[in-house]
């Protein structure tokens, strides 16, 4: 057994994370920055971090992921990274020619205390930033928060640097999709557009990290929010932020900066989650829900009723990022499933824990919740009190295998399966897909374990 080293005895650990369910801020920053059109993410630190971030994103998306690095040496680590960053900006614009460079810091540059805005000022004063080109940055030390924090801060930085109000209100609605897959971003936008709403979505990694094979390597693929759109976001009618942890900071900042009112919702996973999203869109834009969307909703409701008998009472363990975990938990509970072990790797605050507790209030048994926790604890809980299904990223497959429990892959990273980049789990259709995955996992297991006598053909 691969994880035979997991013991059942649970001890309080203060100094140690074992088998993390989170990773560091810059990778979230890099992912968010890739959702800006023509943007080259830049890691201000030494070159190892960014090599890891690029590799991890490449493994998850199976797409080329580019980013640049300040390539700190010992000198820079002692004297500060200003010279490196100024030189980097110069080199990047002259060689790779992106529209914008998104700088994120690393633990290293944060600890030595580099002041990025001041370095930007120097680069501009030295004429290193050509006309019509842009810089923005986010501070992303990993000893605070997690990859989700890095994503949230970078999304907020898009507002801080670019959003402006031209005094008039346009009809557009801003959508902040949260730390979700490119496919989810596309689906979130599709739903809004199907309601006839003009949107500005940021970040938007669809067509960037799920692009087509063209026979050419393109450093800057087609998709992504443009700087122009980001500017205009300050004049939109309103903002819908999906996922409080990943998207609220940007929405709040936009409200404060440009007086664009915002609504903070959970991720649109499942029936209730999507209802809330659609309803908010409807009210904010003053439109009605089109038949097509009602049809999708009806189909989801229909499938839920057709299949609920295989789902109810099923005990589930969920591990992942806070916004995802909360939305998934709500969906499962609405299907009468029982999330009994819940872990987020990322810290998310007391208010979040309260929401999670509220979401499982109806579950008729004790529910373990740990925010933040790690996969080791998650596994210990499962060992002590087995479940029918696990939902988690690729690393959860070790637990699934050792304990012989079906797994539905969800979250980041997924290194070993196709699908997440192309098929959304958000919206009504996404709800259907998610149900399909839950059912496949549970029913495949049921078929496998059925003896000859009880094996059923029709389900």
């Amino acid at each position: 057994m691969l994880l035979r080293h997991t013991s059942t005895e649970i001890k309080e650990r203060s100094a140690l994370t074992v088998n993390p369910a989170k990773t560091c801020q810059p990778i979230g920053a890099m992912y968010a920055a890739l959702g800006v059109h023509g943007c080259l993410p830049h890691s201000h630190g030494s070159q190892g971090c960014y090599a890891y971030h690029r590799s991890a994103l490449t493994r998850h998306f199976k797409e080329p992921v580019v980013a640049a690095t300040s390539a700190f040496t010992e000198g820079a680590s002692v004297f500060g990274g200003q010279a490196n960053l100024v030189q980097a900006i110069d080199n990047i614009f002259s060689v790779y020619n992106p529209d914008v460079i998104a700088v994120h810091t690393t633990c290293l540059s944060e600890t030595i205390g580099d002041d990025v805005p001041q370095i930007f000022a120097k680069a501009m004063a030295d004429g290193k930033v050509p006309d019509g080109k842009f810089l923005f940055h986010a501070n992303t030390p990993s000893y605070v928060g997690s990859h989700v924090t890095g994503f949230a801060s970078t999304t907020k930085a898009m507002v801080d640097y670019f959003a402006e109000s031209n005094g008039r209100k346009a009809k557009t609605i801003n959508l902040i999709p949260g730390y979700v897959e490119p496919s989810d971003m596309a689906e979130i936008r599709r739903i809004a557009e199907s309601m006839g709403i003009a949107t500005i979505m940021f970040p938007d990694t669809s067509k960037v990290l799920n692009g087509p094979l063209t026979g050419k390597y393109k450093m800057f693929p087609e998709g992504g929010v443009t700087i122009d759109e980001l500017k205009k976001s300050g004049s939109s009618t309103g903002t819908i932020a999906l996922g409080r942890i990943a998207s609220m900071p940007a929405a709040r900042a936009l409200d404060a900066k440009c007086k664009v009112p915002c609504e903070i919702l959970g991720l649109p996973i499942g029936l209730h989650g999507t209802d809330a999203f659609v309803d908010t869109l409807r009210r904010m834009a003053g439109v009605s829900v089109p038949d097509g969307l009602n049809l999708e909703r009806g189909q989801l409701v229909d499938s839920i009723s057709d299949w609920h008998q295989y789902l109810y009472g099923k005990r589930v363990a969920i591990v992942g990022d806070p916004d995802q975990v909360l939305a998934l938990t709500r969906f499962l509970v609405s299907l009468d499933m029982r999330p009994v072990h819940i872990v987020t790797g990322s810290p998310a605050g007391k208010k979040y824990i309260k929401s999670l507790q509220a979401a499982v209030a109806e579950v008729p048994e004790a529910v373990n919740i740990k925010v933040p926790g790690d996969m080791y604890l998650f596994h210990q809980w499962i060992k002590n009190d087995p479940v029918d299904l696990i939902i988690g990223n690729t690393y959860a497959k070790y637990i699934a295998k050792d304990e012989d429990i079906p797994l539905v892959r969800h979250g980041f990273p997924i290194y070993d399966r196709l699908g997440h980049s192309y098929f959304s789990t958000m919206g009504y259709r996404g709800g259907l897909r998610l149900m399909e995955k839950l059912l496949d996992a549970i029913l495949d297991c049921k078929d496998r374990d059925a003896d000859d006598i009880t094996m059923e053909l029709v389900m």
Binding site: H5, K11, S14, A15, L16, T17, V18, N19, P20, C24, P26, I27, H42, G45, S46, Q47, G48, C49, A51, Y52, R54, S55, A56, T58, K62, E63, P64, A68, T69, S70, A71, F72, T73, E74, A83, N84, L85, Q87, A88, I89, N91, I92, S94, V95, Y96, C107, L108, T111, I112, S142, Y143, V144, L213, T214, G215, K216, Y217, M219, Y376, Y395
Partner: protein, 459 residues
């Protein structure tokens, strides 16, 4: 795409054989702002030490460095799996301010008590170097308390390149060497150095040597065990695999214990045979070893030949591009590809030194592009210009190859099948063949035209 600007300072790291006098400006730190494919010191140490399966590997730093190196290499173990867990001190802000030594000591104590490993490696990451934790002192203290070797690995990422990480790992290993009993070690005995058992390669190599009548005292570090390392000074010869990662250790062992060493490569028929013959030659006092070696080589080559010959027919004249970590691996790859009838049109490495590039220059045909520390734009430019049919590289290169619609073979840690040894050569040939001749490339727009024109020519 046809012309990309190349950084002036990079000109000296790109060379086309036959054009100008050759002098590669290598071994330099990557330029700030470059999209290098290189990694850090820590990465180097981690890949070298990671396969030691009964040791504890604790990463002292913020979470990311640990998360990204959690079980990403398929270094197989025949016994313990402790190395596949991820242990991190997950430094938080207050640790960065007040120092992480206490946390480190607590984490080590806890882990050693729980897992009773044979030794512990403690990796220092960038930030630890900056905040100035005395990792060595903590290790010494815990070592005394717990009575097992606790070895600091000075792998702060910014302190150099991946190569310096190899060195740091060798320093740590060297402290273990000489601490075990050398009883039962035959005069005809070796250590296999620099073989990490990716896909079970070390087992293949070990089998050959054992069949020759050579005792394998230790493998460093594939399927490695602390006890083996501790007694490795008793072996008569160190056989160091190409990557050069363990050359530092071989040097140190030579100086202290007088153990001679030789460099070999297990890749490709010629190099593999040479690796066995050279060892047999070394032990020529025991002539039966050479006799057995001849028999083994004959047997193995005869086994793979029929299929290899079939594959060669299909691959004849196809063009390959190589971009790998160490230059030594490139040498073997060039030979192996030539053996398959292919032409190498581009070859680059992340860490080659001057003499490596001189060797490459000698080996390559006129017109071959030689690159040091390349970026994706350069790679894709030359791949298109040179009409490559195959790209051999690592995780970050794979999607680049696929975007351009050409075959790919992973010769880095993501390979799943053994490519070393005689049978490895057959696997390699099959993989190259399957990818290069795959019908899926007809779907790639630009490639379709190229493939078509090649067919024309063939007709």
């Amino acid at each position: 795409m046809s012309s990309i600007p190349i950084l002036e300072a990079r000109q000296a790291q790109i060379h086309q054989k036959g054009t100008q006098p050759f002098e590669m400006d290598c071994g330099k730190h990557s330029l700030a702002g470059s999209v290098s494919q290189r990694a850090c010191v820590f990465c180097g140490s981690r890949v070298v030490l990671y396969p030691i399966a009964d040791a504890l590997h604790l990463i002292h730093g913020p979470i990311g460095c640990a998360a990204y190196t959690w079980d990403i290499r398929g270094a197989l173990s025949s016994g313990p799996e402790l190395h596949r867990m991820s242990f991190s001190t997950d430094l938080r802000e207050k640790d960065v301010i007040f120092g992480g030594e206490k946390k480190l000591a607590a984490a080590l104590g806890e882990l050693i008590d729980q897992y009773r490993p044979k030794a512990a490696f403690v990796y220092a990451t960038c930030i630890v170097g900056i905040i100035g934790d005395d990792v060595a002192a903590v290790c010494r203290k815990v070592e005394q308390e717990k009575g097992i070797p606790v070895l600091p690995v000075h792998s702060e990422g910014f302190k150099g390149t991946k190569k310096d990480g190899y060195k740091a790992a060798c320093d740590a290993l060297f402290k273990l060497v000489g601490t075990g009993s050398t009883a039962d070690i035959a005069p005809v005995s070796i250590n296999i150095l620099g073989e990490f058992n990716i896909g079970g390669e070390a087992w293949i190599i070990k089998k050959y040597y054992e069949q020759m009548g050579v005792q394998v005292v230790s493998i460093m570090t594939g399927d490695g065990r602390v006890d083996q390392v501790a007694r490795s000074h008793g072996a008569a010869l160190n056989v160091v695999q190409c990557s050069g990662a363990l050359t530092f250790l071989a040097e140190m062992m030579k100086a202290k214990y007088g153990t001679p060493y030789m460099r070999v490569s297990y890749f490709g028929i010629d190099d593999m045979a040479k690796a066995l013959y050279d060892v047999a030659e070394h032990f020529n006092a025991a002539p039966e070893v050479m006799a057995r070696t001849r028999a083994i080589v004959r047997r193995e080559v005869e086994t793979i030949m029929p299929e290899l010959n079939r594959i060669k027919c299909d691959l004849y004249g196809k063009r390959a591009a190589i971009y790998v970590g160490g230059a030594f691996k490139a040498f073997s790859l060039i030979k192996a590809l030539r053996y398959l009838g292919m032409t190498v049109v581009l070859v680059g490495s992340q860490t080659g030194n001057e003499s490596d590039y001189a060797t490459l220059q000698d080996m390559c045909d006129d017109g071959t592009v030689i690159l040091d520390d390349a970026n994706p734009l350069e790679l894709s430019k030359y791949i298109i210009e040179k009409k490559a049919d195959l790209f051999i590289g690592g995780v970050k290169e794979r999607p680049i190859a696929f975007k351009m619609g050409i075959g790919f073979c992973d010769h880095n840690h993501e390979r799943k099948i053994p490519l070393a040894g005689f049978e490895g050569m057959l696997h390699f040939a099959r993989e190259v063949h399957n990818s290069v001749t795959s019908p899926v490339w007809q779907f790639a727009p630009a490639r379709a035209a190229v493939l078509e024109s090649k067919k024309e020519v063939a007709r």
